[in-house]
Structure formats: structure tokens, C-alpha cells
């Protein structure tokens, strides 16, 4: 019986980040789907786990967390050491670097990435009009971030180190979406190191398994 439970939705990028991390660590868990369309995340039983009504929520024995990056940090702290391929480092300098670049993903990469996915994919799919000014602003911001990544990937194999870390894991859902949109695919493919890094991490078996779950909508 799984002691770990992930309450979330396959429509939520934050849920997908945690799923990828769980699979990457090869941990047993039970996935408990939360129906966002029916507003389950804003109702009583769920709100007692997360007062802000956001998915995912992760329970691991006595630990309960609802912020996805906090979940992933704790997972790497708790289980990273046991893996052949360590996702986080125990050296203080390397840990400081991982912490720094987790926040870069949070503050610099995700906001324009999400904005572009919303404007160029979600809105058109739902018959809504794309805000071209918002697209131009987000494109400029994302381009700047990708330039920083391109320079960084000249020196390192992955974003935080020469090893795959949770920083890279955090980028997966948004990179996958960005590669499905012509404009943003070009932003990635025009930068050779970013492009190679993106192809490599999107091909990792843990991420392929997450995509398989989405396709099946069965977990």
C-alpha cells in the first residue's frame, strides 16, 4: 500500500512536475485525481489540505505539502542520496546553486512561458482572442531567459550542474508545451545549446511516462 499520495490533476503543470520527480526517483505512490473542472480543489475536504485551493498536494507519511517546488526540494533531500543518479547535491556549494536556479525557473522562466502557452494555445483552443501585446512582452522576457540559459549551458551540461538536477525537472511541463507552439519552438531551436538540452531532458523515460499517463488519462 502506498504511503505516498499525490492529489492533483494531469491538466496542471505543477502536478506534472511532481509526477516527473516521483517517477525520476522511482518512488511508489498513489495518484488521487482532483477534478478542477468540478471545482473540487475549492471545496471542503481539499481545502483542509491546501487553504489556497491549489493542486498538487503531496502526502508522504507525516509530511504534507502543497507548494510544488517545496515538494520537489523535500523529495530530492529525502531520496536524492539513494539514487545512482543524484538529483540534488549534498555539497553546500552545489546545493546553494540548485536553490538559486530553482528560483530562476520560478521567477524568470515560468511566468513568460505560461503566458505564451495561455495566449498562443489555451485561448485559441477555447475560442478566445490572443492578446498580441502580451505575447510580444512575454516573448521578449522568455528570449532573455533563454539567452542566459544558452550562456550557462556553454559551461555546464545541465542548468544547475553537470548532472541532471531538480532544476531541469521543473522545466519539463512548460518546455513540452512551448515545443508544441510554432513561435516558442523557434525561440528554443534557434539556441543550439538550449535546443540540445531541451531535446535530451524531454526524452528522459520518467517524462515519457508522464506523457503516457496524460495520453491514457489513467494512472
Amino acid at each position: 500500500m502506498a504511503v505516498r499520495k499525490l492529489y492533483g490533476s494531469l491538466d496542471s503543470p505543477d502536478t506534472l512536475k511532481v509526477l516527473a520527480c516521483l517517477l525520476e526517483h522511482d518512488l511508489d505512490f498513489e495518484f488521487v485525481p482532483i477534478n478542477l473542472g468540478a471545482g473540487e480543489h475549492n471545496q471542503k475536504p481539499f481545502l483542509s489540505m491546501c487553504p489556497f485551493g491549489q493542486v498538487p498536494v503531496f502526502e508522504d507519511g507525516h509530511i504534507k505539502q502543497f507548494e510544488s517546488r517545496a515538494i520537489i526540494r523535500s523529495m530530492a533531500h529525502g531520496y536524492g542520496k539513494k539514487l545512482v543518479e543524484e538529483l540534488i547535491y549534498w555539497d553546500s556549494r552545489k546545493q546553494a546553486t540548485v536553490a538559486n536556479w530553482i528560483d530562476v525557473e520560478d521567477h524568470h522562466f515560468e511566468p513568460p512561458a505560461l503566458k505564451l502557452v495561455t495566449e498562443l494555445s489555451t485561448k485559441p483552443k477555447n475560442g478566445l482572442v490572443t492578446d498580441e501585446k502580451a505575447v510580444a512582452e512575454a516573448e521578449e522576457k522568455l528570449s532573455k531567459v533563454l539567452d542566459v540559459y544558452e550562456a550557462r549551458l556553454e559551461k555546464l551540461k545541465y542548468l544547475a550542474a553537470d548532472k541532471y538536477t531538480v532544476v531541469d525537472v521543473l522545466h519539463l511541463p512548460n518546455l513540452e508545451s512551448l515545443m508544441g507552439i510554432a513561435l516558442t519552438k523557434r525561440l528554443i531551436e534557434s539556441r543550439p545549446r538550449v535546443s540540445a538540452w531541451c531535446s535530451e531532458i524531454l526524452a528522459r523515460p520518467a517524462w515519457t511516462n508522464v506523457l503516457e499517463m496524460i495520453k491514457m488519462q489513467v494512472v
Copy 2:
């Protein structure tokens, strides 16, 4: 000679958070002022430390970081154990809780707090017109967060635990600003537990020293 250097500005809330944390840990450091008005943060020598042109940057021996929450986490990891009053816990459950609530401050508290400070204090001081719609939206968001805090402070003495942690430290600059604005002061004072927590943490000697530095503009 200080091995630790903090490059930042006393006008930057993120710099003040790190300063409060350094003083709380009683660590020696050198403060290197970065002149934001003159755009020093967007020029060459500084950009080599932080490609996004943001303050503060913290150097501690071989560690260099530019994301304020990452700096504070690493400081608590590196030095927290040595303090009588531990700022972070080494128990995995407590550490997971601290990580979770650091991200609550980042994602839920700070955005509406900063918006309200900008609209109700910074803009009027600079002769700009307050956007009343933005104020109403941010007030609603901040009220919701403070309701969550009020409920949490019924069960705990501080936000992440019964001890003062880095989660509380992170709130100091914005709480100080919110207490200087009539509307937001009321939001805090109308919630008895939030109000008591706010008064207590703003009175901590480390924070009083930061305010003294701002007053003197000499460090």
C-alpha cells in the same frame, strides 16, 4: 576581513530580507551598495554576478547566489544549527513545512503586498495616479492570505513552527511597508493573531538594526 559580501540596495525589499537574516544569524559581512538609480545593476561588472540584473547578490566564500530566498535558505542550512534560536529545523518534516511556507510568502503574500505598496505609497510619492482597480484586486488577495495566516497562527506561534524561522524573516520588509499605509495597516490590525505576530517580529533587534541602517543610509 569579511569573507561574506552582500551587494544590494537599501531601497530593495529583497536586499532587506537578506540583511535581516544576516543580522539574525549574527554573521560578519561587508555591504556593497549598488546604485539602482544609476542603473549599476544593469551594467557589466554586476551583470557577471547576476545575469538578470537584480539585487541582492550574496557571496559567501565560494558560494555566489542572486535569488534572495535561495540565499536565505542556504544561510539557514549553513548557520542555523549553530544558533541558540534555530531559524530552520533539521527534522525532515519541519524542514518540509518551512520550504512550503517560504513558497507561500513568495507566491501568495508578496505579490499583492508589493502591488499595494506600489499603488498606495510609491506612486503617490512620485506624483503618479493610483490604479483603484488594481488596489481592490490586491486587497482581496492579501485579505485571503491574511485569513489563512490568522487561522495558522491559532495553531502555531509563528508561520512555519512554534519557533521563529526564515519564513517569518521573509515577511519583514513588506510588513513594515504595509504597516505604514492606513488601508493595509487596518487589514493587519483587524486580525488579532496576525497583528500580534506582526508587532512581535517587527520589534526583533535584527530588524530594528536594518531600519536603523536605512535611516542612516550608512552601513
